[in-house]
């Protein structure tokens, strides 16, 4: 039967069971994943199954690394997202976390824009560590991406994005995740992109401060080409901080909506 094993097409003629395949091809593997699901059962194999066999502690060959990194994705997702271009406007609490999630999901190209550098008060919610303090956020984020998924291409814009450069920065993207801090900058970017006749779809974050119930964070389609994630009311202000759990929930909403859009789903 024809299978895919660690990313390679294989014509397998042995007994149609997972342990038999493992014995034949990679007897020392401890992790067995079939069609995105990590299983410990000796299940029957079917024509076209995608199997990944991983031996812990072994550095895989480059051509097998790709299949292993993405073994747990829903089948069919990687084929679609590897040619996608997603822009991330702002690399703070929302943007840096969106970047990590989309990198892990195998998005082909991430366009990262932020004028700022990493400083200690960022660490309570952004993807950076102590080793990144003082670095340009675009560089620090690009480094993190390379560390978690070296297959992802990255373009960086270490500049402030305004109505004047928004289109040249993000115009070629399929989707732009708006992750700015300042509500006027949010509006400026969103309007510049929406005013393009055929431009990217926007997924914006608005309202994720404090520690109110995370259940109030939602995704809705606000305009024809704009989805909004957040609770749309909790703004950062004196007495109400920005903290990792709620910020990351909102970032998760944005990353998930971006993935859904790339897979052809338009409902929030």
């Amino acid at each position: 039967m024809r299978l895919q094993v660690n990313g390679h097409p294989v014509d397998y003629t042995g007994a149609p069971f997972l342990w038999s395949l493992r014995s034949a091809m990679a007897p020392a593997s401890e992790v067995t994943i079939v069609n995105g699901y990590h299983t410990n059962e000796n299940q029957r194999l079917r024509e076209g199954d995608q199997v990944v066999l991983i031996q812990k502690g072994q550095t895989p060959l480059r051509e097998e690394l790709e299949a292993m990194l993405l073994a747990r994705l829903t089948p069919g997702v990687y084929e679609r997202v590897r040619s996608a271009k997603v822009g991330i406007a702002g690399l703070g609490g929302l943007g840096s976390n969106i970047a990590m999630m989309l990198a892990r999901t195998g998005i082909g190209l991430l366009v990262l824009a932020d004028f700022d550098t990493v400083e200690p008060s960022n660490l309570n919610r952004q993807c950076y560590g102590v080793s990144h303090l003082g670095m340009q956020k675009t560089d620090a984020c690009a480094n993190q991406i390379r560390e978690i998924n070296p297959l992802v291409q990255v373009q960086t814009y270490p500049h402030r994005i305004t109505a004047r450069n928004a289109v040249s920065c993000f115009g070629a993207c399929d989707i732009v995740c708006e992750a700015f801090d300042n509500p006027c900058a949010k509006a400026e970017l969103i309007n510049a992109i929406l005013e393009m006749e055929k431009g990217p779809i926007l997924v914006s974050g608005s309202g994720m401060a404090g520690m109110d119930s995370a259940n109030r964070i939602h995704t809705r389609r606000a305009l024809r080409r704009l989805y909004v994630c957040g609770d749309e009311t909790s703004e950062a202000r004196e007495g109400v901080g920005l903290m990792a759990p709620r910020v990351t929930v909102c970032a998760g909403h944005q990353a998930n909506m971006a993935l859904r859009l790339l897979m052809g789903e338009t409902e929030p």
Binding site: G90, G92, G93, L94, G95, A163, A179, F180, D181, N182, P183, C184, K186, A187, I190, N191, L194, E195, S204, G205, S206, G207, M208, A209, A222, L223, R224, L226, V228, G230, E232, T233, S234, E235, A236, R237, L242, V247, C250
Partner: protein, 64 residues
């Protein structure tokens, strides 16, 4: 007119800026769609809303 899904009584056309002021929207923190098309920011002061228009206004808050 219809604003964010609610019917609002409107006898004659009124300037968009008047609608924004009445419903306390800050023009610098919003995006506006009329009948499915985005209204460019540069056109806010010249746009009139008709009684049969359908408006969607999204307002953004700070933090991220």
């Amino acid at each position: 007119m219809r604003l964010n899904g609610r019917d609002i009584a409107l006898e004659t056309a009124i300037p968009l800026l008047q609608v924004l002021e009445k419903f306390q929207y800050d023009p610098a923190k919003i995006a506006v769609e009329r009948n499915g098309d985005i209204i460019p920011k540069s056109m806010y002061s010249q746009t009139e809303i008709q009684p049969d228009d359908c408006l969607e206004i999204v307002s953004f808050v700070g933090g991220g």
